[in-house]
Symmetry: C4
Subunit: 244 residues, 4 copies
């Protein structure tokens, strides 16, 4: 039992026996990169409403920062007909932590960036020398819009050797600007690509189409359904392209 | 509650925080594209026979039109032996909506195009500078054959930056010709490719082979089985290549 | 109800609205290919032991022949400890049918070729201008070995446009030699590739590792287990690399 | 029943009808390789705690050695809140066996190497002429650290024809050094790639997120949770990027 309180997350136990990895290609460049992939020891999640939940992630620890990714399932709502529809798509949450010492990351300064399905598609299809930038406003369409601006920049590291992930957060109220930088090796980026391909249809809820009996996260107070704005007959008319 | 009836679908709430996306590659071209991906607010689906169904989709909203895609599961029929077979393969329904104003799409003018498994294979394997065309007749093999002709044309946008999807519908009875055009970014096309790879074996019913206990959509009035036309012995004879 | 007996399978009802497909690439060649993909109407499978089974496939109909592919799940056996192991891996059965007229295929002359997991890997990784050949002896290691020899040859069609699948079967007893040839378009080959990727881990039984409660095809009379040939202690000794 | 004890595993029954495989490419080189892929006949796994387990694998038999790969599922722990989290990620266990004669492999001299998720990503993304090296110390962070050193080297075979897998194990206590070499054809490497893509999200436990009701391997004596080291409020504060 640890008595002392600390605001830093210290990685205490390596989950993998990896010492180092070296990947070379024959066209000159030798890529030598030391990377340690360890499970983030997460604090106890909230108990209310979380019972039965499952927490999964993948974390990349580097010298200047750590990048943790964790999928968020979609929310469903049940219609009066008994049908289910996706009320809110899920996302791939990227959490960035700045390093404050060897294998020490400041949990309090974490900055999150929730990749949408389309942004995941952008990263999956990223060529080895391409780059991508995404801009988010966490308070978009509220009265606080524009106060916080986040920019995720993904740039090639060169030599076909992965990408730098760099998150900028500008807060015009607190007058602060944070940047956290994590280099992602080609191998780690392939883990992202492979797991994004797995996650993408599932955070759109498409797996429920083929396994409708599975329990899902259902929003019990969905918005009123949209009949007033629609002619119901339109959708119900037989579709000449696909008459079920 | 909205009182006023409108035939237009107004997207009322963004489901994602995406402001804009910019993808560049180092070989000259800067691809700057603003795209907003939002959940289509769907009207209440029909209640008869739909209870327990799940509605999932992915929609691309652009200036001149929107493209919604939604997988359709296969139909099974049960044989007298208790076995199940696919009675009708599923499809990937593409629905096109013309824009009638900023973020306003005319729901009544939607045009559908149900991609077959092979057409999905054609799009999955499409190289960045290749194109594809598909022709459908919704009334094929009925007395109305030839009245309506649909053409889906998928053309590269240039600079490796995705594809234009353009649907032409010619109706020789109503003497109308509609065209709806939606540019699909490289990121959005990758969402299509990734989700098509997920969906393809499932709309062929192959997931049931490994999860036979899952409920499936069963056609209760299948066509008479085909014994009269076959020698049953042929299929039942031991297969020298694979003797189970 | 059809009264007349026929040994030919006549495709009676198109399951898809596809009229034709045209795929072009910008480097000169225009690939124009008419293909019709339809569900094979299968005769009633055997009832003994088949109850609860699910039959799924994908069929390519061409002028000179048809190619039907259908996955075969693995067989499991239960050990005395209650554990399950794969007793026999599954396969991807390819069935070839020669054409005997427009949209008519001779069911009696079907020839099968069961692709192993590794042969599936060979086709998945086949470059657009590469070719592959596989040789099977259905009676290998029996007294009839060498009587029947099968060769599956997969050759590029040119212009990046798919592959020809050609099956040769030589029977030294009946002195017959059959060849069935089916050209497979790039789109159809992509359906094979995508569904092979889906099927590959499943015909190795790997999905059971994560869903052990699912029912599986269990061989009730497995071979005697192999203790006499092994020192049990060897396997049971703690593995220093992965001590569970 | 075999009476005689043998420390060698003799492969007694081929599970596949494959005689040989030949893959050629048009650029000169003819790749001719004879490979036999057979199920390893495994001895009876331990009965304690293993009931209900499923054993699956894929094995490559070559002249000088055999390479068996077998996925290891993750371990979960249940939090006091009822939530589940991944306590230890799974791995892809590679087991190497030296050959001691035609189709005879020395089971006692097996050497294991557990690929982490990131190492799997490295192999999935390996270009045809790239190579990779991984170093493991099975006793890392114990008092025996450094006694045993393992190096897995993956080198291209040339002509785009797969990779050599070579495992070196140096034991400084027993003063022994073992090397086992298995050439992996392009087709076999594609089986690895395809099955790694399937396994990767699952050994991270991500499939449980969408199927939380499935039984999982739960560690009943997890480490004490980490609240003392964390401010619980930090994680529980609403995340502005994704307010669930």
């Amino acid at each position: 039992m640890m008595k002392k309180f600390s605001q830093f997350l210290t990685v205490r136990r390596p989950s993998e026996l990896l010492l180092s990895g070296k990947v070379s290609n024959p066209h000159g460049a030798l890529l030598s990169r030391s990377f340690v992939s360890q499970a983030v020891a997460r604090p106890n999640p909230a108990s209310d409403g979380d019972s039965g939940k499952v927490f999964v992630d993948y974390t990349i620890f580097k010298g200047k920062g750590a990048l943790n990714m964790s999928p968020i399932p979609p929310k469903f709502s049940q219609l009066q007909s008994g049908c289910m529809k996706v009320d809110r798509k899920g996302a791939m949450m990227l959490n960035f932590f700045p390093a404050v010492g060897p294998k020490k990351y400041d949990w309090q300064k974490k900055q999150g960036f929730a990749l949408s399905v389309t942004e995941m598609g952008s990263l999956i299809s990223l060529g080895p020398s391409e780059s991508a930038e995404f801009f988010h406003d966490p308070s978009m369409q509220s009265s606080n819009a524009g106060q916080v601006r986040k920019k995720l920049s993904v740039q090639p590291l060169g030599n076909g050797g992965g990408f730098s992930f760099s998150l900028n957060v500008n807060n015009s109220v607190s007058k602060t600007s944070d940047q956290i930088y994590v280099p992602v090796s080609k191998a780690e980026f392939e883990v992202m690509r492979s797991s994004f391909n797995y996650i993408l249809p599932r955070i759109m809820g498409w797996d429920r189409l083929f396994n409708p009996q599975l329990p899902a996260s259902v929003n019990m107070n969905p918005e009123p359904e949209m009949e007033p704005e629609m002619e119901p007959g339109m959708l119900l008319s037989p579709d000449p392209e696909w008459d079920r």
